[in-house]
């Protein structure tokens, strides 16, 4: 077996091993923490790209942990979706790690920085682990690691509100975990296995059973809480508002991993025909998502705190991913999964810009943004570009995924969903154009000396802004892996 064959586990192990070593590194050489994390994530990113290339040429890799065949041992399945998620996760986290070097000097007290990076790396590793696992219980374990590290990261600044937001997130997240655990138990008692592929085969005769239906309900509710789907999103706004700005960027990835878990549940554990035709689960999800998109957009408009506004915008945009799943056609799934990448890049760029603004000025209220466009040209330029992408203005990447979703809704005969997408774009435009208007044409109340953020912060922001354009013009790049991913999920 060549080393390439072991890539699925190696990609996960690199950030995790770095996390285990981080407390020791932090004890001896505090200054090296950041470089250490960046190097680990860079290696992991390169590994993920190699993995994605391998999967594209050779098809999905089934890695049998400890050498036991699937129903008995744990299996890692690096399929198209898993490899894609690994690339997305490692790319965004790499940039956030670079950005953190300067940024956390203001947000996180000195002695806690090694812990910050440790939790950061644990979060990265477990998100990748959750994306490529083929075992239901292992998915739960990965979800626990990522949940616990995100609870801690949300409240790491140690301020009162951050602590409360973290506590709220913890209680709600732990309930979600309990539901997931109960759901897994119900599936296990019915099917007698924990392996997803095995369940896929063994569940169909049991579809009439109340136990299986209850398990589906419990798992959907549990993962929806983790994904912050609209009525269950209550933890998200507080967590995003009070956490340091680098954490929401990671958290947008966390909720995407929740969406991936829903995809796995609906298409890899249950048969697509069951969730679409026998019980209208996908239809219900698409309606939930449609409501979420509209309501979250309205909430976002009414916010004055920029971080809280972006948080509601995240609730809105993760619902797009769910909408793609809910449409349930090949095109819809492709659009939904493409939006995972596009939203991660765009929202990452926005949050990092806001972080730079707060780092330099401490301003959080949108009304005080006047004149920032001239003082921080690079940051605000990137912000504007990302905002255009959020709204879905063409050549940016946001347009591509919205276009795909709208097209999927039309071809699936669900024109009303296309209307929802269009309407939400208009609502998005309202609140983003307002900010852009203030930043470029507003007049500051007092002339403060503000200059551009440090280079280690501007560089990741520019990278992400560039990605908004690159992914807009070169949407074929992610689509090469997403088209087979959607086909594999639907079993075409």
């Amino acid at each position: 077996m060549s080393i390439m064959f072991h890539l699925p586990i190696i990609v996960i192990l690199i950030p995790l091993t770095a996390a285990y070593l981080m407390p020791l590194v932090g004890y001896k050489w505090k200054r090296l923490c950041n470089s250490f994390a960046v190097v680990a994530l860079l290696l992991s990113f390169l590994g993920s790209i190699a993995l994605a290339r391998l999967v594209l040429t050779n098809g999905p890799i089934h890695y049998h942990m400890a050498g036991f065949k699937p129903p008995w041992g744990i299996e890692l399945v690096a399929d198209y979706l898993g490899a894609y998620m690994c690339v997305v996760i490692s790319f965004i986290t790499l940039l956030v790690a670079l950005y953190s070097k300067e940024y956390i000097t203001k947000e996180v007290p000195e002695p806690r920085r090694p812990q910050y990076y440790t939790l950061f790396l644990l979060l990265t590793g477990s998100m990748m682990g959750a994306s490529v696992t083929g075992d239901l219980f292992n998915l739960f374990v990965c979800f626990e690691i990522l949940s616990i590290s995100s609870y801690a990261l949300v409240s790491i600044s140690g301020e009162g509100k951050a602590l409360l937001a973290g506590y709220k997130y913890l209680l709600i997240g732990a309930i979600a975990s309990s539901f997931v655990l109960l759901g897994i138990g119900h599936l296990y008692i019915s099917a007698g296995t924990l392996n997803m592929a095995d369940m896929f085969v063994r569940l169909p005769p049991l579809y009439g059973s109340w136990t299986v239906l209850a398990a589906l309900a419990l798992l959907i509710v549990g993962f929806s809480i983790k994904t912050a789907l609209f009525p269950l999103h209550v933890w998200l706004p507080d967590a995003y508002t009070h956490a340091p700005c680098s954490v929401p960027v990671l958290s947008t990835l966390v909720i995407k991993v929740g969406a991936v878990a829903i995809i796995r549940l609906l298409f890899n554990i249950f048969q697509p025909s069951f969730v679409m035709e026998t019980i209208p689960m996908t239809a219900a999800l698409s309606w939930m998502a449609a409501i979420a998109i509209i309501v979250a957009s309205l909430f976002a408009i009414s916010q004055t705190d920029i971080k809280r506004m972006l948080a509601y915008s995240s609730v809105c945009h993760v619902a797009y991913v769910i909408l793609g799943i809910g449409i349930g056609t090949e095109l819809g799934l492709t659009g939904g999964m493409l939006h995972i990448l596009n939203h991660a890049v765009t929202k990452g760029c926005l949050f990092l810009c806001v972080g730079a603004i707060i780092y330099k000025t401490g301003i959080r209220n949108i009304r005080d943004f006047g004149g920032l466009g001239r003082k921080m040209p690079a940051t605000m330029g990137a912000f504007t570009l990302a905002a255009f992408s959020m709204v879905g203005i063409p050549p940016t990447n946001g347009f591509i995924s919205k276009f795909y979703l709208a097209l999927a809704a039309m071809t699936a005969g669900r024109g009303e969903l296309a209307v929802v997408i269009l309407l939400s774009s208009l609502l998005n435009a309202i609140y983003f154009i307002r900010i852009i208007n203030i930043t470029y044409f507003g007049i500051p109340e007092e002339e403060a000396e503000i200059d551009e953020a440090p280079l280690t912060m501007v560089y990741p922001i520019m990278m992400l802004a560039a990605c908004c354009l690159i992914l807009g013009f070169g949407a074929e790049l992610p689509l090469t892996i997403l088209r087979p991913a959607a086909q594999a999920l639907l079993g075409v």
Binding site: E144, S155, E159, L170, L171, A174, I175, L181, G185
Partner: protein, 125 residues
């Protein structure tokens, strides 16, 4: 479908019923109680109820614990299902970890606000 279930069948599931009752008690505590530590106790009730559900599912009538001495697999002995035990060992650690983190947060919150009553804290904010 439901009405065909005989009473005896319901009685045979008493472990599961208890776990359902415990989940309900725990959830109710989490929603209704204002004290943050009490909420956490409710969470622990829910979690242990889940564990009870798993372990009940693993039991087999007349079975013994799956410990096979010196590699001799006795043919007349029925062993219980070891897999739920394994899963629950992991889940217990998860529960402990969540509780530890939550209590650390609670201590910090008390230092900041001087109370653990969630409504009082919202007033103070």
């Amino acid at each position: 479908m439901l009405e065909e279930i005989p009473l005896e069948f319901l009685l045979r599931h008493y472990n599961y019923w208890t776990s359902v009752v415990l989940v309900m008690i725990g959830l109710y505590t989490m929603i209704v109680k204002k004290n943050l530590i009490k909420k956490l106790m409710g969470l622990n009730l829910v979690e242990t109820a889940t564990f009870l559900f798993y372990i009940s599912m693993g039991d087999v009538e007349g079975g013994v614990a799956p410990i096979i001495a010196h590699g001799e697999h006795a043919t007349d002995v029925v062993y219980i299902n070891p897999l739920p035990s394994v899963l629950i060992l992991t889940a217990i650690v998860v529960a402990l970890s969540t509780t530890a983190l939550a209590l650390a947060l609670a201590i910090k919150i008390y230092e900041k606000y001087g109370t653990l009553n969630s409504e009082r804290i919202l007033e103070l904010m």
